[in-house]
């Protein structure tokens, strides 16, 4: 005799499901329509769905499901059904490898299947690597249809236009980190509808002082190819010293427009202190660490909070690093 699971009271059934990992839940859902309904009725609000097109996997509940291209001639022992697609799989501890004729399409199917089955939002979406605009749009539309916010969003799709990016950002609020690695020039005057905790722009020549001044809730701002100048930074640091940007923990700007004439926060460049050999390290939020050496200290006028600043004009591109020690 077996164990008649669906004769258990709902509390006990729910408790059993809490102890099942993602792969077990996927397998249970495949047993029957009723089983899929039971899986769908469970609450997995604590779990996070992480879709990464660069490394081609989706992660949830500490388990990863990879989507690979099917290898001709290879024999696969096991298979699973995702929606209407039955594909070969290989399962080992916490990792399921799935094989598709087109792995990007496979990944998209997996995400849609899991999000629907486990009623989960996509928590982190990394759209970069060899992802076509068609695939990106399809995945993006799915995310936009199902949620109003996302924790971490990286856009690195080639061919994305300014209009498309702005359209996306207007529809979804990025809470944790927005990382734009696409090479886009955003028209002057554009303002982000909302600012995340962390903003990272790999091509930021369009990002002006006005944008920077609007980052009131950011804890980390990282800009590559910035065209911000000493004067811009002086304005920003001046406001920080007067008590604004209280959440700020790190600025990491790389650019070629910094000079040695204009002071920043009353410090004259180059802002380095080679006597100060102490290397200081700090964790910034959940995703980043920062370290600084040969830095000069400045303090807020309001509460004396210290920050380390370094602007080295010997390196190319010049790096302006600013870390707050709360």
């Amino acid at each position: 005799m077996g164990f008649p699971i669906y004769r258990l009271p709902s509390v006990a059934l729910g408790e059993v499901m809490k102890f099942m990992d993602v792969f077990q839940l996927i397998d249970l859902a495949q047993c029957s329509k009723k089983s899929a309904c039971h899986v769908r009725s469970q609450e997995f609000s604590q779990s996070k769905l992480f879709l990464d097109y660069r490394t081609n996997y989706v992660e949830l509940k500490n388990s990863k499901i990879y989507a690979w291209n099917i290898k001709p001639g290879r024999e696969y022992e096991d298979s699973r059904q995702f929606g209407t697609h039955i594909v070969p799989v290989h399962i080992s501890h916490k990792i399921m490898e799935t094989y598709w004729s087109d792995r990007k399409e496979g990944l998209e199917i997996l995400v849609k299947f899991l999000a629907k089955l486990l009623r989960m939002k996509v928590d982190q979406f990394f759209a970069e690597g060899e992802i076509s605009m068609e695939r990106f749009n399809s995945s993006m539309n799915f995310v936009l249809e199902n949620q109003k916010d996302i924790v971490r969003f990286k856009i690195g799709v080639e061919g994305l236009t300014e209009k498309e990016l702005i359209g996306i950002l207007k529809q979804i609020k990025v809470l944790g980190e927005l990382w734009i690695s696409s090479n886009l020039f955003i028209t002057e005057g554009f303002q982000f509808p909302s600012y995340p905790e962390m903003l990272r722009l790999d091509h930021s020549s369009w990002f002006t002082l006005n944008h920077l001044l609007a980052c009131t809730d950011c804890i980390r701002i990282a800009l590559n190819e910035t065209t911000l100048t000493n004067k811009d930074l002086d304005v920003f640091i001046g406001k920080w010293k007067l008590g604004e940007y209280s959440k700020l923990e790190c600025l990491d700007f790389k650019g070629t427009e910094f000079d040695e004439k204009t002071s920043i926060g009353q410090l004259t460049p180059p802002i380095v202190d080679f006597q100060n050999q102490q290397k200081e390290l700090k964790l910034i939020g959940q995703y980043y660490g920062a370290s600084i050496q040969n830095a000069v200290n400045i303090r807020k006028d309001t509460d004396g909070v210290r920050a380390s600043v370094r602007l080295d004009l010997q390196t190319r591109p010049n790096q302006f690093l600013f870390i707050v020690w709360n």
Binding site: G2, F3, Y6
Partner: protein, 188 residues
């Protein structure tokens, strides 16, 4: 182990005694209650052990039974097999006043017994034991294919579910028709 009806018992005061504040508090005699399952075998269990069961704890919290009253009024759990109730009582005694460990390896291995234990524990609202049991149930299908899961957990196929649903509808229709006919007969 629990003691049964034949075992010794100590009287539980109807009113708790209060100790003088200055003196070291004398140990309050433990209260005992009695439960029996389908087999009518009565188990004597301390109030401390019964605290694990939210259901029984709720029932006894304001009773204030004397030992005689408790003995004369065992709690009947007719829906629980005697051996399962024995397991539950043993577990409650073993974990009386102790923090529950992260694992419990003493649960029954036989699926039928585990099933009955889950039902009993769920009914008696013993949260920790329910957690252990459910974890063991989930472990049954670890690393199994959907087909194996279906077999282990006796999951009907879609066709079987549909047939059962049709049958249930048919039965409900018949019952409704019977009730209507009976009501019409009464009206006459």
């Amino acid at each position: 182990m629990s003691s049964t009806e034949q075992g010794t018992s100590s009287a539980a005061p109807a009113e708790p005694t209060t100790a003088p504040e200055s003196a070291a508090a004398p140990e309050v005699p433990e209260s005992f209650y009695y439960v029996h399952g389908k087999d009518k075998v009565v188990h004597k269990v301390s109030a401390g052990a019964l605290q694990h069961s939210a259901l029984i704890h709720g029932m006894i919290s304001n009773l204030g039974y004397t030992e005689e009253q408790a003995k004369a009024n065992p709690f009947p759990f007719e829906n629980i097999d005697g051996d399962i109730l024995q397991m539950v009582v043993d577990w409650c005694n073993q974990h009386k006043g102790k923090p529950t460990p992260p694992e419990d390896t003493n649960l029954p291995k036989q699926k039928e017994k585990l099933f009955d234990l889950v039902l009993a524990v769920n009914y008696l609202e013993i949260k920790e034991l329910l957690t252990y049991c459910c974890k063991q149930v989930a472990m049954m299908v670890k690393g199994k294919s959907p087909e194996e899961i279906r077999e282990i957990w006796m999951i009907p196929t879609d066709a079987e579910d549909e047939a059962a649903e049709k049958e249930a509808k048919k039965r409900a229709g018949k019952e409704a028709a019977g009730e209507t006919a009976a009501a019409a007969g009464d009206a006459k």
